[in-house]
């Protein structure tokens, strides 16, 4: 139940970042691991609300107060169980999620939100370290087979749930590697690919079969697929940035983050040395980047790696004004739905001096 008066006693504290000088030399993640004691204090700040708005705000419906409390009481093992109960891959969401839970946190009415995302990430990392995350193959087989088309977060979660109740699951991926958005959409500095691979290994051990290079409808027709499997789940990704209603967005002056991400990942895969590399269009003094997100800070950080070659960079963030992404389906088959009529692009620009300390600027 958290500490009753915790939110009055402790301030919010987050993870420290690696020094800029260090992190411009590699592709690795930016935040440093946090101390357990600090995290317990952060867990103590949770008020265990009668209506936990964070739990509502979370697209997955994570039962956040429960594991906040378990962390506060040092029950890490129970915490990962509580976290896994609603979330197949906390290590992804703990890094990548824009944390609408924190925006909904009741503590934030009078002070700063509980560091929910940090707690989430730390719980799962601790669980991996302790060896608590192990393959959980089904106790018995149902004898049915399911094909999951697409290996993004939705496809993976779906596959894991289906496998655990005993179905034979095959995941079909068009690209050469499994992961979809997780592999080709998320830059390394936000989530290192080893995190994904670690999870895929568990899933394979649970008996999930992954097939890459299968482009359903192109090199495998639907009829064959339907004949071969008892059920199909379509979890295809977007693969295309959504149209952003900003004048001139298609001009050469802008770079959409999606393309930079893909290129970056490709560079990494080719084992090129992790040296600072200009990823923005070469030869320009300044550059513009457009991203759709709700968390400017994270993206400001990201820009550091892009801005290396530029003297200045303009970052345009597009935020839906009040509609939060709504969730459809249960865990494992999550998909985000942006209600079109409510989306209104608002462009926020942040100017960065070259090689400035991005955090401080971005915070403003």
């Amino acid at each position: 139940m958290g500490k009753v008066t915790g939110f009055l006693e402790f301030e919010r504290e987050g993870a420290a970042s690696r020094a800029v000088s260090e992190r411009i030399r590699d592709w690795k993640e930016v935040p440093l691991p946090v101390d357990g004691a600090l995290l317990r204090q952060q867990g103590a700040r949770c008020m265990d609300c009668g209506i936990p708005f964070c739990h509502q705000g979370c697209p997955l419906g994570n039962i956040i107060p429960d594991w906040n409390d378990l962390v506060y009481r040092n029950h890490w093992r129970d915490a990962i169980d509580a976290l896994h109960a609603t979330n197949n891959f906390p290590e992804f969401t703990g890094r990548l999620c824009p944390a609408p839970c924190e925006a909904s946190c009741v503590v934030a009415i009078g002070s700063e939100a509980v560091s929910i995302k940090l707690i989430e990430k730390t719980i799962i990392e601790r669980a991996w370290e302790e060896g608590w995350v192990v393959p959980e193959p089904p106790a018995s087989e149902t004898g049915r087979s399911v094909a999951v088309v697409g290996s993004g977060p939705a496809g993976l979660a779906c596959a894991q749930q289906l496998r655990r109740v005993g179905h034979r699951v095959t995941v079909l991926e068009r690209a050469d590697k499994v992961g979809g958005l997780l592999r080709y959409g998320i830059p390394e500095f936000k989530m290192e690919k080893r995190v994904l691979d670690r999870r895929l290994a568990q899933m394979e051990a649970e008996g999930i079969e992954f097939k890459t290079g299968v482009h359903v409808g192109v090199n495998l027709d639907a009829a064959t697929l339907r004949a071969k499997y008892d059920a199909l789940v379509l979890c295809g990704g977007a693969c295309q940035a959504r149209d952003l209603p900003i004048p001139g967005v298609n001009s050469r002056a802008y770079t959409l983050h999606w393309s930079t991400s893909r290129r970056q990942t490709g560079e990494l895969r080719e084992n090129r040395s992790p040296k600072p590399r200009p990823s923005a269009p070469r030869g320009r003094k300044s550059s513009s980047l457009v991203a759709e997100t709700q968390a400017p800070t994270a993206w400001a950080r990201r820009t550091v790696s892009i801005a290396r070659a530029c003297t200045s960079l303009r970052l345009s963030l597009v935020r839906p004004t009040h509609a939060r992404p709504r969730i459809r389906g249960r865990n494992g088959t999550t998909s985000f739905v942006y209600p079109a009529p409510t989306k209104r692009a608002v462009s926020v620009s942040i100017r960065l001096a070259r090689r400035s300390s991005s955090e401080t600027t971005a915070a403003g």
């Binding site: 939110f7 169980d81 089904p138």
Partner: protein, 1565 residues
């Protein structure tokens, strides 16, 4: 009027009628028979008129009657003309028979009776028509007036003793009753024998006391002589004409109520087959059955049993000690013999528990007894000419003071008996020692008693199985919340969990989630007609011990009755359960194990079959000698699902009752599904004697192993859990006013919501369930859903329990009306003032198409019945909002900011805000510079009486008596010490940092006539305010509301069960009370049926959230509407549900100055909310075609149940009873149309106000305006800032007084306060001296400046709420008894006093100075529970005290003269220390008070003590609250709350206000 009209209709059911009354007797000790006794008794009865009531007609009473000896001479004279030849005295029996008016019907009954007399071998002598004269009666009494005739039966030949003849008469009467019932003859219900005896005769009827001898001319005949006369005047909650319900019954008259009635009736039925008696002729005992006729009142039922026991050879005294034993279990000073006597009796009969002052007679002795709590007043006088008068009040008869030999009162659990044969008074001690010695009870017990510890060890104790635990938890429907909220706190702290903000989840029958059967039952609780108890502070009357095993013949007293196992409590550990399980014939005990399992695949047929099989096996086992039935659901697996243990237990209990073999075996339940206090209560209430909750134990074990309960081991955790269960169950019993487990056992104090008739009749007979619903099918389905989650068809097993979501919102959990979306939209709507957004909020709340939540969600409007009108023709928003009020939330529970924001908003709207029970800072009486007012128009008067001063009362527009609260009916509020900040303590007249307790009952309301008295008191204290009574919905609330209307309240508020709260046990939040829809509809129907609706406003509240809710409530009969949770949400509340922790993060429900800074609410938000609601109401009214709210009230015909409900459980519901509209007459009103008559016109105070000396004072220039809102009309008069500028003339008066002059000085006091403010006048400005016996509430709420002097004695509630005035009482100068040995004033004196002084030369009754928070008082002896819950002031007791002194005392100080040196055992040391008086300051205080006492009363005790002060000091002891060591306390407080020291000022308290409070609360001198 036909019988059928009296019968159940709609939600009204006559079985919930309550009554209460004035009772007493008059007896000549020497047995001298005279007509004067009867005359005097009738005079006395007339002086108790105010304790009775009348309904819609002033000349229709609820009942009055007398019981006298057979007036032989009178009968000789009167019978001759009718040809009846009477034998000698006591050789014939006589009795009055009520008959149908129709002569043909009457003659049938008479014939039947005559035949039975002859068949029983007696002689029938004849009928004498009873002369009556009904010209004074009201119409409704006349419509039901029976014909009356006295029957005379002569003694047959074979009978030589009067006792034997008396028994025969009893058999004849019982046979006559059974024969009538069996005949089904038209009008058979109207035959009724008032009595049939050779000793006593009853005259009674539906009369007021003054009509009694007008109606029965017999009573005026001088030849009608008796040596005693028992009398009774009835106050019933209803006005349905019923002549039979008048008292006295055949042997008793009763003031009070039996709470355990249903259980008592069942048990009596169950033991009928075992009854045998040699005193009766062979076969006669069978003719007496059923002993208790079905469908009678509680008094009639207990009378039936007393009659049986006495006729079967026990003395009336012994019968009464069996039925209403005193609290012997925990009695420290009672002799072992007496305890053994009670112990033995307890094996034969469970207590009939409840408040009771019962007078009993068999014609040879007459006596009175009082319940173990002493909850009814019973006073007696003995005169020098051998007259003894016992009555509910003193002063009912004028006896010259010098003729009085002694005055006393009946003490709790004690008896008072007059033996007419030996012509003397037998006191309690002699009586009970005699009874205890009448048989060798102690020897029997020593030899035969079997205790749990004495049982042999079991060969095998079932072990925990961690492996399968989760699976079994799932089978029994455990959720994570069960661990977190239920088992966790119970196992860790031995306490039940506390929650806040009520409940907004669906009723079990509307929930989508599978529910335990337990959740369909709601606990009943006491309100108004009987008091709840305080099991913590008054623990000495409660007990959890019980016994298990067969009962013996009730009519014998044999050692066989001890063939039972004494259990110290009803919870069995695994070891104890195993010992009982494997008894196997040890000392004749045989246990039959009955598995509560059914085959899952067979579904409901399987469950039904398994139940029937279980019943069959149980019967066979009993017949072959088993004495313990052991129900167990161990052994569940994939094939076998558990039968809900409550279903198996209750089903079996009732099956065995029906088979009449229930008392031959005890029931033990070993079950995995019971874990909450509520579950244990239900199992006990439906027949289980002992329970083994093995899965709860195992779950706790697991929690300990997993480190979820830090700092304790498994043993401690289990022990704490068991302790918490005891405490919890005792608390639940206490809410109904029941103090023993054996009384609660089988008493089924519950009502069901959503269970259908067939199911209830089969398995839970006589449990009210009024909207039908589900049955075995659905129950099985829910059980199997749980079972299926444990043994899923798919192999993917759950790794953890489901989340639950009952207490906290969870996305996958139970639905809540307040959820993230509704909270957010409501806040956005009211902050922005956007009605469109508000509509989206209310749509979300109202749309229960998918997720049902409330009963009203299933209702829909009949829009097509009336033509719609345009919205602009509807009554305006401004007018509708005047019907809205905010809920009673105390200052203390919520912050000053939130509290005054609500008040400002409601005042702007012209609606009503409510202080709650925490008093109000006088600063708030003054308007703010911008014209806003922070004064709450409704001032609440709750049981704690915090801050209830004369000024508080005068400053109100409405005074609300809180009888119960939706979230915790039957319990008192508690403000934990850490929330009692200095500014709170100041407003409440208490000490900062010390927790505050409100007693569960109002100690001046133990029954309906007491409520009438408090209403009268408050009306006197502020004649301009309307008086409201707050009730909580439960079955029977309509009947209570009718009583409230008859007690002259102006408003009755029916709250739903789901209302918010600052803090309440979760058990109460979830399981007590019912939705307002049911309570309101029942209230409306009952009031209309009684033709009482026209005189009282009906208000409702409980999770009202939208305009639609308001319209539904209006159509069901409400005129005004209360909102609490929703306005709080507009002020920022986000349903944290932590109000009790003082950590509210939005500054609403906290006193912490840091958090209060976060408060964002503004009056505009609240104003927006209410205007939006009103607008919604208007829109709906337009659609329904109503122009005014008034036209809409009570139009339940415009409501319908929603069609096409596809919810699998809700389908079976039926609301037709809710929508029922009674139409008793043409002229009946459905809303309030006329004012109540409060009877103030007769008040003696009006004479006082006219007196020239007092007028002179009242006409003085007034003090500066202290509360302009109530002083308007004085605006033109001269005001002075300071009274010292004016010379105050003194007023001295002298007047006679008698007991009918109630609430004396209060009206005068209110006028003084209104004019001169909170400080009142200088001491002794007005001195009034009275001679005689004062009525109740003498000097209530007396402000400073008035002194009342009483030479005589007084009834209950002297100086209630004393606010600075002075009261002096002493016996008449001419009396000859020793003042200090005699009772001078009644019970509950100085209740809730906040200041002033009181001196009593004589003893006080029970609960002297209860909740005193500032008065200085001296008395010369007190009853039990003196200084209970006291928080301030000084009490000096110069004589013996009763037991439980200073229970719950957290402030103030008491000094007791302990001459015998045994005060220690009578003091409750829980919260106080007893110290010697060695502080010189204390000496000064006592000396000062003693001198004043002597000077005012002439006390000889004071004189003696002052004469030898050094000796006196040695005998005095000081009683001091432990928490109250001043320095220590300040230090502790500073440590706990450093901000108190600096922030007291910042909290909005100005010095001026401080001074005002001090002036109001602290006495001068």
């Amino acid at each position: 009027m036909d019988d059928s009209e009296l019968m159940k209709q709609g939600l009204y059911d006559p079985r919930y009628e309550h009554d209460s009354c004035g009772v007493g007797f008059l007896v000549h000790l020497k047995g001298e028979r005279s007509h004067r006794i009867v005359r005097d008794a009738i005079t006395a009865l007339n002086n108790l008129n105010h304790r009775g009531a009348c309904g819609c007609e002033v000349n229709t009473g609820d009942g009055a009657g007398v019981l006298i000896q057979i007036p032989h001479e009178f009968f000789l004279e009167k019978c001759t003309p009718w040809g009846i030849r009477l034998p000698g005295a006591r050789e014939y029996g006589a009795g009055c028979l009520f008959m149908p008016k129709h002569p043909d019907q009457a003659i049938h009954g008479k014939r039947l009776f005559e035949e039975i007399v002859v068949e029983e071998g007696q002689r029938f002598l004849g009928w004498r028509p009873v002369p009556t004269s009904n010209h004074s009666l009201g119409a409704s009494a006349i419509t039901r007036e029976p014909a009356m005739a006295q029957a005379f039966v002569g003694c047959g030949s074979g009978i030589d003793a009067t006792d034997q003849f008396e028994r025969k008469l009893y058999v004849i009467r019982k046979r006559f009753e059974s024969a009538l019932n069996a005949s089904g003859m038209h009008g058979y219900r109207q035959f009724y024998f008032c009595s049939l005896s050779c000793h006593t005769l009853v005259y009674k009827g539906m009369l007021t006391p003054w009509q009694l001898d007008l109606y029965f001319p017999d009573l005026r005949e001088p030849s009608l002589r008796s040596s005693f006369c028992m009398f009774h005047s009835r106050f019933s909650t209803n006005t349905f004409p019923n002549w039979q319900l008048a008292h006295p019954y055949r042997m008793i008259a009763h003031n009070g109520e039996i709470n355990t009635l249903r259980g008592n009736i069942n048990w009596m039925r169950a033991r009928e087959t075992l009854m045998e008696s040699e005193l009766f002729d062979p076969g006669d005992v069978r003719k007496l059955l059923p002993i208790i006729a079905e469908g009678q009142s509680d008094t009639a039922s207990i009378d039936n049993v007393v009659e049986l026991l006495v006729k079967a050879g026990r003395s009336p005294a012994q019968a009464m000690t069996m039925l209403i034993p005193e609290a012997w279990e925990n009695h420290q000073s009672m002799s072992q013999e007496k305890k053994d006597f009670y112990d033995f009796q307890s094996r034969l009969m469970e207590p009939w528990d409840g408040p009771a002052s019962i007078v009993v007679t068999d014609g040879k002795t007459i006596g009175a007894t009082l319940d173990r709590n002493g909850l009814r007043p019973s006073r007696y006088w003995v005169s020098r000419d051998a007259l003894v008068i016992m009555a509910s009040e003193v002063g009912v008869l004028d006896i010259p003071p010098d003729q009085i030999a002694g005055k006393g009162r009946l003490e709790p659990g004690k008896m008072f008996l007059i033996d007419l044969d030996s012509q003397r008074i037998v006191d309690d001690e002699e009586l009970k020692s005699g009874l205890a010695a009448s048989r060798p009870y102690s020897t029997w017990l020593r030899e035969r008693r079997v205790t749990l510890d004495g049982l042999p060890e079991a060969p095998y104790v079932p072990q925990s199985d961690a492996e399968s635990l989760l699976r079994r938890q799932l089978t029994f429907g455990y959720t994570q919340e069960d661990l977190k909220y239920i088992l966790g706190p119970m196992a860790k702290d031995g306490l039940w969990a506390i929650g806040s903000m009520g409940t907004d989840t669906p009723l079990a029958v509307l929930s989508d989630r599978p529910q335990l059967l337990y959740n369909y039952f709601k606990q009943l609780f006491a309100q108004v007609t009987n008091p709840p108890l305080d099991p913590i502070r008054e623990e000495l009357v409660t007990t959890v011990s019980t016994s298990l095993g067969p009962e013996d013949n009730l009519l014998a007293e044999r050692v066989n009755a001890l063939q039972q196992i004494s259990l110290p409590s009803f919870v069995l550990t695994n070891r104890d359960a195993a010992r009982i399980r494997y008894l196997d014939g040890w000392r004749g005990f045989r246990t039959e194990i009955l598995p509560m399992l059914f085959r899952a695949e067979e579904g409901s047929a399987g469950m039904r079959w398994a139940l029937e099989n279980l019943f069959r096996k149980a019967k066979a086992a009993i017949e072959s000698g088993a004495s313990i039935l052991f129900l167990s659901d161990r052994g569940t697996d994939a094939e076998h699902a558990p039968i809900p243990s409550l279903l198996a237990c209750s089903g079996l209990h009732h099956f065995l009752v029906r088979e009449q073999i229930r008392t031959r075996a005890g029931l033990v339940v070993e079950s995995g599904d019971c874990r909450e206090v509520h579950h244990f209560c239900l199992l006990l209430g439906y027949g289980a004697a002992a329970i083994n909750p093995y899965l709860a134990f195992e779950s706790i074990e697991r929690m300990v192993a997993e480190g979820q309960l830090e700092g304790i081991d498994t043993g401690e955790a289990v022990e704490s859990f068991i302790k918490a269960v005891y405490k919890g169950v005792v608390k639940v019993m206490s809410k109904m006013g029941i103090s023993t487990i054996s009384g609660y056992h089988g008493a089924q104090i519950f009502e069901a919501i959503g269970l259908n008739e067939r199911f209830i009749d089969r398995y839970f007979p006589n449990t009210p369930s009024r909207i039908r619903g589900i049955g075995v099918e659905e129950i099985t389905r829910e059980t199997l859903t749980h079972h299926c989650s444990a043994f899923p068809k798919r192999p993917h097993a759950r790794k953890s329990l489901p989340c639950g979501g009952q207490y906290q919102w969870r996305r996958n959990g139970e639905h809540h009306l307040f959820n993230p979306e509704t909270v957010y939209t409501l806040q956005r709507a009211t902050r922005s003032g956007n009605y469109e957004v508000f509509k989206s909020y209310s749509d979300r709340v109202n749309d229960q198409g998918k997720r049902l939540c409330t009963l009203r969600g299933l209702m829909e409007f009949n829009f097509d019945q009336r033509r719609p009108i345009p919205v602009d023709e509807v009554e305006s928003v401004d007018s509708i909002v005047k019907r809205f009020c905010t809920g009673a939330m105390s200052y203390g529970s919520i912050s000053a900011e939130a509290h005054s924001t609500l008040a400002i908003a409601m005042n702007r709207l012209g609606g009503w805000s409510n202080t709650g029970e925490g008093g109000e800072d006088p600063e708030r009486f003054l308007p703010l510079p911008n014209g806003d007012s922070r004064r709450s128009r409704i001032k609440q008067v709750a049981s704690g009486r915090f801050g209830v001063t004369s000024g508080y009362l005068v400053s109100a527009d409405e005074l609300q008596i809180k009888m119960a609260q939706g979230a915790k009916p039957g319990e008192g509020g508690e403000l934990p010490g850490h929330k009692v900040y200095p500014w709170i303590a100041k407003t409440r007249h208490t000490t900062p940092g010390v927790g505050l307790i409100s007693p569960p009952p109002h100690h001046d309301i133990y029954s309906i006539e007491d409520l009438a008295q408090l209403i009268f008191d408050l009306k006197n204290a502020n004649p301009r305010a309307r008086i409201s009574v707050k009730l909580v919905a439960e079955v029977g609330v309509g009947t209570v509301a009718a009583g409230v209307a008859k007690a002259h309240a102006d408003v009755v508020l029916v709250s739903g069960h789901d209302g918010g709260t600052g803090a309440s046990p979760l058990t109460s939040i979830k399981h007590a009370g019912i939705p307002w829809e049911l309570g309101l509809a029942e209230t409306q129907q009952t009031l209309v049926l009684n033709n009482l609706r026209d005189r009282i406003v009906v208000q409702t509240d409980g999770q009202l959230k939208t305009g639609r809710d308001v319209v539904v409530a209006a159509l069901l009969g409400a005129e005004e509407f209360g909102f609490a949770s929703a306005p709080l949400v507009t002020l920022g509340c986000v349903m944290m549900r932590v109000c009790h922790q003082d950590t509210c993060p939005v500054g609403v429900a906290t006193q912490n100055p840091e958090l209060r800074k976060r408060f964002q609410g503004r009056p505009e938000h609240v104003v927006n909310f209410f205007r939006f609601i009103a607008q919604e109401v208007r829109e709906l009214m337009a659609q329904l075609g109503f122009r005014t709210m008034d036209a809409m009230i009570g139009r339940s015909d415009l409501l319908d149940m929603r069609e096409a409900i596809d919810h699998h459980k809700a389908r079976g519901l039926d609301f037709s009873e809710i929508f029922h509209r009674p139409v008793p007459g043409q002229t009946v009103e459905y809303r309030r149309t006329m004012p109540q008559d409060h009877g103030l016109a007769d008040a003696l105070d009006l004479q006082l106000l006219q007196h020239f000396a007092i007028r002179r004072i009242l006409d003085l220039p007034q003090r500066v305006r202290w509360c302009p809102a109530v002083q308007e009309e004085m605006a033109t008069k001269k005001v002075v800032p300071n009274l010292s500028e004016v010379e105050i003339p003194r007023a001295e008066l002298e007047l006679p007084i008698r007991n009918v002059n109630r609430t004396l000085g209060t009206l005068l006091g209110s006028e003084i306060t209104r004019r001169f403010g909170l400080e009142g006048l200088p001491d002794d400005s007005i001195r009034i001296k009275f001679g005689g016996s004062a009525g109740q509430s003498f000097g209530a709420f007396l402000p400073r400046g008035i002194t009342l002097i009483l030479e005589g004695d007084s009834n209950d509630y002297v100086g209630k709420g004393l606010s600075g005035g002075k009261i002096v009482a002493f016996p008449p100068k001419t009396s000859t008894f020793r003042a200090e040995d005699n009772v001078l004033i009644g019970n509950v004196a100085l209740y809730g006093a906040t200041g002033g002084r009181a001196f009593f030369r004589g003893r006080a009754g029970e609960r002297f100075c209860v909740r005193n928070s500032g008065a200085f008082a001296v008395a010369e002896g007190t009853g039990d529970h003196c200084c209970e819950y006291m928080t301030g002031g000084v009490v000096v007791v110069l004589g013996p005290t009763g037991r439980n002194f200073a229970a719950g005392m957290s402030g103030g100080v008491a000094f007791v003269l302990d001459e015998a040196g045994d005060f220690g055992v009578r003091c409750n040391p829980e919260m106080v220390n007893i110290e010697p008086v060695d502080d010189p300051e204390d000496h000064q205080v006592i000396l000062q008070l003693l001198r004043e006492h002597l000077e005012n009363t002439g006390s000889s005790v004071a004189l003696r003590l002052l004469g030898d002060w050094d000796d006196a000091v040695r005998k005095l002891v000081k009683v001091m609250p432990k928490e109250c060591g001043r320095d220590l306390q300040d230090e502790g407080r500073a440590r706990l709350h450093p901000e108190w020291v600096v922030n007291a000022e910042a909290a909005g308290q100005t010095e001026a206000a401080d001074r005002q409070i001090e002036a109001a609360g602290v006495p001068h001198g």
